[in-house]
Amino acid sequence: MPDAATSWRSTPDGLHWTVDLRHDLRFSDGVPLTSKDVVFTWQAALDPATGYPYRGQFFYIKKVTAEGPYRVRFDLSSRNALFVLGALNVPILPEHILGRIPHARIRATDFGERPVGSGPYVLESWKHDENLTFVPNPHWFGGTPTVKRMIFQIVLNDQARTDAMEQGVADVDDAIPPSAYQILQADDKSGRANVLLLHIPDLYTIFIQINFHRPGLGDLAVRRAMMYGWDRKAMVDGYFRGDEQLATSITPAGLRRWYDPNVMQYPYDPARANALLDAAGYRRGPDGVRRKGGVRLAYTLDLQGNGGAGQDFGAEFQADMKAIGIAISIRTLDYATWVERTNAGEYALAYGGWGGTPDPDELTFLGCDQASPIGNNMSYYCDPRMDRVLEAGLKTLNYAKRRALYDRMQQIYAEDVPDLYLYYDYYRAAVSRRVHFDVKTALPGQYLWRDVQHWQLGPL
């Protein structure tokens, strides 16, 4: 909505927000977009009958009212730092199309198939799992984009997509895996493909999730020993050929305004890992596996059965842990089963990731009272220091003050090791050199398409 809004401001207590809309907004069918569409959108979104999956995120929005055709007022029940990035990013629905339909039936309409929006492009045709065609929206306030037709072709196979880029059949390869990226890099050097390669930090942190309820894993000494004993750098550099960034805490480096590298570090140091475990009283048994009392440091690592980096990392992790007296067995589960087991706490270690949001808040992931199945805290991690920081972070609107709180969050996370964090994911894409665009508009989490209305097609 920051595109549709000219300004947004709140009362000093952060409970009442006023948002002013542009006066020249139109939906792609030509009908003007006004405050009544925004009010309708929020009435529908907040009504449980609609079944909007992300309604829960907006628990703090009490009332949305129109103040004239171009002004909307949001009344919040509590101050929330996520309001602008969260609520003001929800797309606006056309009241004149969906307004007469009962909320419970909105999801069953074919609006999703034939959407009416207010952006620079409009969906012209959609052949499911094959392609989507977009053409300029004649009613868009910003004029007519230069690119007159965009076809998004769904090509499932990495090799076929790489071929299409090499042959110049496709102009953009959006979100490519590291292997294809490396091929195109070589192609670009050898002149086989004329492409610009993009490699920007994404908003995901990849880690091995830990179940604190499993004997031994709730012990900080064991978790820190696992971090010291794991040659994360060799693994990540080897797999990604050095172009992926090792994680230092939970906030991904892609969140440039929030990322803080000044936290406790865990360089690879198996001697230190062994010393930590010795000091904590875990002695090696005849099988080489450490134990203390009835606790034996032997765990199963659950991987998601879709190939990818996890398969390679699992085996290396296993070897590294064996060297410090921790036995790891590997189990590969299909994704649906993996999700069910981790949500239900039926796991010891699970390879996965977290992130995707433009804000550093992690309350539902790290909060004490957010343990699964209430929230997304599937580790059952709980530290009152962390809770205080996270709750204050959500109530604080001032950037400098918030920044200090989230620096603290990243420090506590690194000290507590709620997950064995590995690396920050990168977004990789290839763009033909015949597409002329401002590379700076490709931002973490927004990817390439943010500024597509200004793209130009030219000679190679």
Binding site: G51, Y54, R107, A108, D129, L156, Q159, D163, E340, F365
Partner: protein, 318 residues
């Protein structure tokens, strides 16, 4: 006619049993529908997750869910809506079916065209070098898993030699172009053909050998007919009869082959839809595809029996 009708009526309890067993297997498998809340990225709250589960009736035991599914099918003729995109399952399947049918019919056609002559010739030249070679090849191809062979062919002919595309059913921008479609189907069809050759060759060889031992062939030779007339005029027609049955029997194998092939070659057909639906636990889509396959297999068998009756006047159903 009465026979066909009776067979069709008899298929109804069979389909019912198939549906119960499929639903039970699906419902008892670990993991729930991920498609509706897989995107942890958007951090759907667990409360919202629970609401969805409840709204879809997924918090009920599988047999209750099955009852609702059946009720919807019988009373409203509806196969339900996909959990992935809320679209009618039937629409999703119909848009995927053409490419699968194209691929399977081509594979079947080539299998028949290649296997029958080899089988017949092997039988005529029984225990010859050709016969042994055909037998060895048949068993080798029979032993190859379809996904493995697919990957090998991709590597050889698409990645190394670059003769054919690695995947997909169309080039970018080549939609609706039949030549382009055929070009993309070469490797998948070849894979399916190679793995199904064996059964057909062996079957045809056996059928031919049976016929070659018949007394009427001796009579034909005694009449002074040329060996060509004996084989093609008398033996062949009878030897082809049992093969018709194989048409119906090979359908289940072809459909399961389509699942692997479409996944390996990234062909957006019915099999690809099915595999993804299984991974996402998109129950309505999985059920619809299972039922569709069951119906096709039953019809295939029926068609084979009927065709058998038409081709061989000695066979009468009543």
């Amino acid at each position: 006619m009465a026979y066909i009708l009776r067979r069709l009526l008899g298929a109804i309890p069979l389909l019912f049993i198939v549906s119960v067993i499929s639903y039970a297997l699906m419902g008892l498998a670990p993991g729930g529908p991920t498609a509706i809340f897989a995107t942890q990225t958007r951090r759907m709250s667990p409360a919202a997750r629970a609401e969805f589960i409840h709204a879809l009736g997924l918090d009920k035991p599988w047999y209750v869910q099955y009852f609702y599914w059946l009720k919807n099918l019988v009373l409203h003729g509806s196969l339900g809506y996909s959990y992935v995109d809320n679209r009618p399952v039937i629409a999703k399947i119909l848009e995927r079916l053409p490419v699968t049918i194209e691929m399977l019919s081509l594979a079947l056609l080539f299998t028949v065209l290649i296997a029958l002559p080899i089988g017949i010739y092997s039988a005529i030249k029984r225990n010859s070098v050709f016969d042994y070679a055909a037998t060895v090849l048949a068993f080798a191809s029979y032993g190859m898993p379809v996904f493995w062979l697919g990957i090998i062919l991709i590597d050889a002919f698409a990645v190394q030699l670059r003769w054919f595309p690695t995947s997909g059913a169309n080039s970018i921008g080549g939609e609706g172009n039949p030549t382009d479609r055929l070009y993309h189907l070469v490797l998948p069809v070849a894979t399916l053909t190679i793995v199904s050759l064996a059964a057909w060759i062996r079957y045809q060889r056996g059928a031919m050998l049976n016929v070659l031992g018949e007394l009427y062939l001796r009579t034909a030779r005694a009449k002074g007919l040329t060996e060509g007339r004996v084989i093609f005029g008398h033996a062949l027609r009878n030897a082809l009869l049992p093969t018709i049955t194989l048409l119906g029997l090979s359908l289940p194998g072809l459909f399961s082959g389509a699942y692997f092939i479409e996944y390996v070659f990234s062909i957006p057909g019915m099999g690809y839809l099915g595999i993804n639906a299984v991974f996402q636990r998109d129950y309505p889509t999985v059920m619809a595809l299972t039922m569709l396959t069951a119906v096709l297999v039953i019809l295939g068998n029926l068609a084979a029996d009927v065709a058998y009756g038409l081709a061989d006047p000695r066979i009468r159903y009543d």
